[in-house]
């Protein structure tokens, strides 16, 4: 079966062995000539990537049979490859894999709201994309499936935990994975993968386990969502991906996050929050969230969210169908909290993330404009600057 192999470019490597010293599982070795990665050991943890001073370490090939250590040690240059699988170098239009790729089209559509070319945050980790193509997916096992919304709620949202059985599936916060529903479409073809943003951090739903969680809402006619929501423990699912290379978490602990989401759009926000909690500790959240749902009953992660200290994550939970209360949308609450939002807009450390239904975009945009103008900023310009500086991110469906 084709697989991805991590290689080092011998023409660019300077043999400083920093990668070898850094690799936590001793997958890197060298001889007199080359420094090479052992495909039998490497688990794609990516710890070697940022420490490489040359960029030679960021080489990948899809191979049927991995190159052996002896082969690699004898190379004076890298072999050609059929498909370049790693992410676009400068991460501009980083979602592109090939122009006619339907997944690219999906992501491009989802990121349209950014109003220009999406860019990954400068300090974001470099994501792996397209490691498993839809025609060679990874098999995952359902490790847990829990209903997140109350039984009374008409919204059925599930938290689904998938395990890859120790096989590498290096997905980072903000990326999506593609679920391949079984069966054939009306033309007798396999269904295209449906993209779901992971709601777990990079080291796993449970730290160190590298399992992933998804936040899935059952849609009445949804082929994939019904398939997922009906899964039981131990069932298997075919997964492609990871996908997406711009809607990512900045690694910079000084970055402030302004997260605006509705419904299952909370998935990446959950991943961001957990990742920060695991790395930065509880003191240093620097995160604000506006989260909208119809009712508390139908707000995914309502219980756990309530427990996150507000010093770490300032939360504004907003309901549009709360009986006896005025309808309130995220944009309404942003206007109420205009001082906070304006302050963040004026801070060059702020990154904005918007995720949820397409319908939310317009209202949120208007709220931003209103708030920006009230402090003498032109929103269109402000947004453009943030986008150029890779601090404005939209993913809506």
């Amino acid at each position: 079966m084709p697989q991805k192999q991590h290689l080092i470019d011998p023409e660019i490597c300077i043999r400083c062995y920093t990668c070898e010293m850094t690799c936590p599982i001793n997958a890197i070795e060298h001889n007199e000539d080359n420094v090479v990665v052992d495909a039998r050991i490497c688990n794609f943890c990516m710890a070697c990537i940022p420490v490489c001073p040359t960029g030679s370490i960021d080489e990948w090939r899809v191979v049927d049979e991995p190159y052996s250590m002896d082969e690699q040690l004898s190379w004076s240059e890298l072999p050609e490859q059929d498909v370049t699988v790693h992410t676009d170098a400068d991460q501009e239009e980083g979602d592109r894999i090939s122009d006619d790729d339907p997944i690219v089209a999906l992501l491009a559509e989802a990121h349209k709201g950014v109003g220009g070319v999406s860019r990954a945050p400068v300090s974001a980790s470099r994501p792996t994309v397209n490691l498993y193509r839809p025609n060679q997916p990874m098999k995952a096992t359902v490790q847990g499936i829990y209903r997140l919304t109350s039984e009374n709620s008409d919204s059925e949202v599930y938290h689904i935990i998938l395990d890859f059985g120790g096989k590498p599936f290096p997905v980072i916060e903000g990326q999506s994975i593609g679920v391949l529903p079984p069966g054939l479409d009306e033309h007798g073809k396999s269904y295209l993968p449906r993209l779901y943003s992971v709601s777990s951090p990079r080291d796993g739903e449970r730290s160190g386990y590298h399992n992933v969680s998804l936040t899935v809402k059952r849609e009445e006619q949804g082929i994939c969502s019904n398939f997922l929501c009906n899964l039981g423990l131990g069932d298997t699912v075919k997964i492609a991906g990871p996908f997406g290379s711009t809607f990512l978490l900045p690694s910079d602990p000084e970055a402030r996050l302004l997260m605006i989401c509705t419904g299952t759009g909370s998935a990446p926000m959950r991943a961001f929050t957990m990742a920060r909690r695991r790395t930065a500790g509880v003191q240093n959240g620097r995160m604000v969230m506006f989260f909208g749902a119809r009712t508390p009953d139908s707000l995914p992660y309502f219980g756990p969210l309530k427990k996150v200290p507000s010093k770490f994550l300032k939360k504004y939970l907003v309901y549009s169908r709360q009986p006896g209360q005025k309808k309130e949308y995220v944009q309404d609450r942003m206007l109420v909290e205009r001082e906070l939002v304006a302050g963040m807009l004026q801070d060059a450390h702020t990154h904005i993330y918007i995720c949820g239904l397409k319908a939310m975009e317009d209202g949120v945009d208007k709220a931003f404009r209103n708030i920006a103008e009230s402090v003498g900023l032109k929103w269109s310009r402000c947004r453009e600057v943030m986008r150029e500086e890779s601090r404005y991110h939209v993913e809506t469906y």
Partner: protein, 483 residues
């Protein structure tokens, strides 16, 4: 956990050593800080200090997030104190205390020896920034300028690292030594830097690349052996410094490689194949290969002197005390005591170069120098590949270790690059073929014209094959402040 991995920006000095709860050291460092900033600000030309440089800053020592890239002005760079995480149960790797728990405090009996090692290491860091202070004015590209400044700010950070150790662990005299690190200055008559190679000028970019290739590589070897120290804070400091040092090696190796590439490309375009036809090659405004060889020989031999005497009691004492190990000590398979083993050193006896078998303990410097030579040879091979690929018959070589030495068994001996002893007259006559002359220097200097357009490179140096942080070719690595 969190305070070890993530850098605390709460105090003025970013650190992962919990400085805010160590008032005494924090105060000492804050007192030292203005003097350091003053040193930095006086050093590099003002318009370059005001420019926005795309720099890497360490925000965490964790491999996944240890460096963040962003534009900033160099004086705003956060020089921090970062130690690699403490390894539980680490023991002293060598010498008579081998196997005992690594020291977390300075062992009294070795206080002076340890302090001296730290001071010498610390002295080299600002020294190289001083040597390179004007290079930004003649940068062959914004990419190269950015790399120069990255090296400079990191050397500055390495000074901080040594100063922290002095102030934290050596009390009043540590603080005085820290002040002296800012008082001494490269090339100064009254208070020069401690090691010779750090008082030499870095007049041009070829010298800079050769310096980072050869002299910084000595720094790397020294750091590698200090990373093996039984004094754990020193070990942890050096381990993290090595990650940054790798970038300096990269700048040197690829810098020289790109100069060679530009030379052979220009020769190919002009239909020249004879590398020894220096004038014809120079007419193409690139640096001829024989001159590159001369520069190589100069910087290599200067750097060999940094390893000190081949046979050294001081080095033996440091190893035996467990405060300085060998290169990759933990990967060497022997008893790590060296009481009875021997090692071959090069010596000069009866007017010839000989190999002598001596106590391995006393040959620690020689061994490190051998490891260095081996490490340095790798890049030479890769440079030669560039020349070969272009079909030009020329080979760069490391000269014999006895050539052009000022320290050790071969100091001031008339030995040629092949290791042959010559008469003084023959040696003097040959020097202009082996080492750069004034006119070689003048020619190189004539090429040193700045090239500040994004994506553009001076004619004598080829563009890099990969951008820093994977940036595209025309990326503006430095936004120049031209006012």
């Amino acid at each position: 956990m969190a305070d070890v991995i993530n850098v605390s920006y709460d105090t003025q000095i970013p650190n992962n050593v919990n400085l805010s709860s160590d008032r005494k050291v924090l105060k000492a460092l804050e007192k030292w800080h203005p003097g350091y900033l003053d040193w930095w600000n006086r050093l590099i030309p003002r318009n370059l200090q005001q420019s926005m440089v795309y720099l890497r800053t360490a925000v965490s020592v964790d491999p996944k997030g240890w460096a963040k890239f962003d534009y900033l002005k160099m004086p705003d760079y956060r020089w921090g104190i970062l130690l690699a995480p403490r390894l539980e149960g680490r023991t002293i790797p060598c010498g008579e205390h081998k196997g005992q728990p690594a020291w977390q405090e300075v062992p009294g009996e070795y206080r002076n020896l340890l302090k001296r090692l730290i001071v010498i290491q610390g002295d080299t860091e600002p020294g190289s920034v001083e040597q390179q202070r004007f290079l930004g004015l003649t940068a062959p590209s914004l990419y190269d300028m950015r790399n120069l400044f990255q090296v400079n700010v990191e050397e500055g950070r390495h000074l901080w690292a040594m100063v922290y150790l002095l102030q934290k662990y050596f009390g009043k005299d540590g603080r005085e030594e820290a002040d002296d690190l800012l008082r001494r200055s490269s090339g100064s008559d009254e208070a020069p830097r401690m090691l010779g190679a750090f008082n030499q000028e870095t007049p041009d970019w070829l010298s800079f690349f050769m310096f980072t290739y050869f002299t910084d590589r000595d720094g790397k070897m020294q750091l590698e052996s200090l990373a093996q120290s039984g004094f754990d804070p020193l070990s942890r400091t050096c381990r993290f410094m090595l990650t940054e040092e790798a970038h300096h090696m990269f700048v040197g190796e690829t810098g020289v490689g790109r100069i060679i590439q530009a030379t052979v490309d220009a020769m190919t375009r002009a239909g020249l194949t004879d590398a020894s036809d220096i004038n014809k090659v120079r007419d193409l405004s690139v640096i001829d290969l024989p001159t590159i060889q001369k520069k190589l020989s100069l910087h290599y031999t200067l750097s060999l002197d940094l390893f000190g005497q081949e046979i050294s009691t001081n080095a033996a004492n440091a190893f035996n005390a467990g405060i300085k190990g060998r290169y990759m000590e933990s990967r060497i398979e022997d008893d790590h005591l060296l009481k009875d083993s021997t090692y071959k050193v090069l010596d000069f006896e009866n007017n010839q170069t000989v190999e002598r078998e001596v106590s391995a303990l006393k040959a620690i410097n020689m061994r490190l120098r051998d490891d260095y030579v081996k490490d340095a040879e790798g890049g030479i091979g890769r440079w030669n590949k560039i020349i070969n690929k272009a079909g030009i018959d020329f080979e760069l070589k490391l000269p014999h270790q006895a050539f052009n030495r000022k320290i050790g068994a071969f100091a001031h001996k008339p030995i040629d690059p092949e290791g042959q002893l010559l008469s003084s007259e023959a040696y003097s006559a040959g020097l202009s073929d082996w080492l750069p002359t004034t006119s070689d220097g003048d020619f190189i200097e004539s090429l040193m014209q700045p090239c500040y357009e994004p994506g553009q490179y001076a004619r004598w140096i080829a563009p890099p094959r990969v951008g820093i942080d994977n940036k595209p070719g025309d990326f503006e690595y430095v936004k120049l402040h031209m006012a």
